[in-house]
Symmetry: C2
Subunit: 335 residues, 2 copies
């Protein structure tokens, strides 16, 4: 009869639609729990009255804001994306907003980390592949923001990690077992300075295991290229067209392994006969390319991260968790 009141509340909507406030609340928050017919009536009432739920009241009743933040290096790397997918998947149906903060400098990271906790409108935070200083850790702790780190552990915060050194070793052992002696390493350099460099750890493990097999990794066989297809190709070409090229290459990321494969293809080098290539990550496209690789379950790492986060939001007295995800070699055909 008389729509457009000043500021309709759920009480008004309830009256108008002939239901109760609980029902209104339900159609707003979990529509599937409301009979479709009732839902329709309520929606109509909401529209008719121009009802707008007040975020403040909601946050108060819920004792949380329903927002979880994810900070990630500006996602150029496919692996970040797959992790993000895991996070989004684990969060769907959970009634939390997913707020993405892309970081592209150490300054920005710092400033996010110093202001975000204070604004008090995040219920939890996930840091992907970002290093965090003690000061920032303490700030998060002090403000009781549940936090999960992916790929960059800190003893006081939850984390989901992998054993990069071990992964490097696995790659080395695999190639050695296949009989290779002339083995090269292809890594990237330009993960931005503020970001942890798991690639270096992979190199450490790789070198160790080779050492133990009596093989010395010479400088000539350790190549680093910025994380772009073009630069990777450049380095790959140098490596492969040397006078005495390697018979096997461990690329510290699948992305670079793919670059390597492309170069090999163009140079007419047969894979795996003349050149074995093993990658690291097991990106989606690794399967397409039949790339043998050290698999870390990227999606899973994201999924685990929110699981931990949500459980800590629900009960913030839970002890800190450090989860170590297993690695394994996926043997396809490039090595």
């Amino acid at each position: 009869m008389c729509p457009l009141k000043k500021n309709p509340t759920i009480y008004d909507v309830a009256k108008y639609s002939g239901t109760s406030i609980s029902t209104i609340s339900r159609v707003l928050n979990s529509p599937d729990k409301v009979n479709v017919e009732t839902r329709r009536k309520v929606s109509a009432a909401i529209d008719a009255l121009g009802f707008v739920p007040k975020a403040e009241a909601r946050a108060r009743a819920l004792r949380l804001n329903g927002r979880i933040g994810v900070m990630t290096p500006f996602f150029t790397a496919p692996s970040f994306v797959q992790r993000l997918r895991g996070i989004a998947g684990g969060l769907s149906k959970k009634n939390y907003d997913l707020v993405i903060y892309t970081v592209d400098s150490v300054d920005q990271l710092q400033s996010y980390l110093s202001s975000l906790p204070l604004t008090g409108n995040l219920d939890g935070l996930i840091l992907m592949s970002l290093p965090i200083e003690d000061v920032a850790v303490n700030r998060l702790l002090k403000h009781h923001i549940p936090t999960v780190l992916i790929e960059f552990p800190h003893k006081k915060l939850n984390s989901v990690e992998i054993d990069d050194i071990g992964g490097g070793r696995m790659a080395a052992e695999y190639l050695v077992a296949k009989g290779h002696r002339r083995i090269a390493f292809l890594g990237d350099t330009d993960l931005p300075e503020y970001s942890i460099h798991p690639v270096s750890l992979r190199l450490v493990g790789f070198r160790q295991a080779l050492q133990e097999a009596g093989i010395t990794l010479t400088d000539e066989f350790v190549r680093l290229a910025p994380y772009t297809m073009e630069q990777t190709r450049q380095v790959a070409i140098e490596l492969l067209s040397a006078s005495n090229p390697p018979t096997a290459v461990f690329a510290a990321t699948d992305f670079q392994a793919l670059g390597m494969l492309k170069v090999a293809r163009h140079l007419g080098i047969k894979v795996p006969e003349q050149l074995a290539v093993i990658g690291f990550d097991d990106l989606d496209m690794a399967e397409y390319a039949d790339l043998t690789t050290v698999r870390q379950h990227l999606d899973e790492s994201g999924r685990l991260a929110i699981e931990i986060l949500l459980s800590h939001i629900a009960d913030n007295s839970r002890p800190v968790q450090h989860i170590n995800l297993p690695l394994n070699i996926v043997e396809r055909i490039t090595a």
Copy 2:
């Protein structure tokens, strides 16, 4: 005695300072109405407990940072990711929070669309590859939420689109010009029912152009497979191992083109000599695979969407824009 509780409220402060919550509230809101001595005690308690009124924090945060929402189909498709990257890039340094909503059913889309404009505190919204009904459009308009649609235009809302039909034509013309007559189409079926299906449009254009070249696309040469590598392979195998296989295939997405290439490789079919493959999208990995493809600039679509959105947020009287992004063929080596 025991400061640092989880989340101090005014009740805690009241107890700690031996006053009542009303007094705390007054100290916060109108200090001059509180006896200076009491005020001092309360302030001390506030400091000791590290009390931050939640509502205030929220309000401040909401003023300081704007929020842009992006709704996307649950991003399994690489193309969504690349668009998202464009969006994030265009938004960095802009002092807006990026809130991601992943949609995986038509119900969820509806419910987001009916509640987000109201409850979401969003300054603007981008819908990626999602169809939107008139009702929802009107709701957005009514609540003055600037919106940009990507890949699914609506006359009343801003949009960034491409000419899918034209793209299909380009592919056909390209293949015909190369002398092919036996040409097949590989599309996907399982873009979830709620999502627009640009692939069908590509097929329409493709068929048209073939027709004009005097070639009829038979049903046998139109194959649809769900959007997974496995299913795509299955269909590709059927197609290629038929008694009279096609000499060229247009895959409606690069992802499927890659699946096709993989199958061809496994069957020992030479590309492009025995089989030409052309894709659509120009994903990152298309370059790696040397895939000839119809390029749409995915990153750019996201960036443009954000630009339009921000300009409309700044001045909501601007007229609706419909931007049409150009397509072009990137000739690499698979076709």
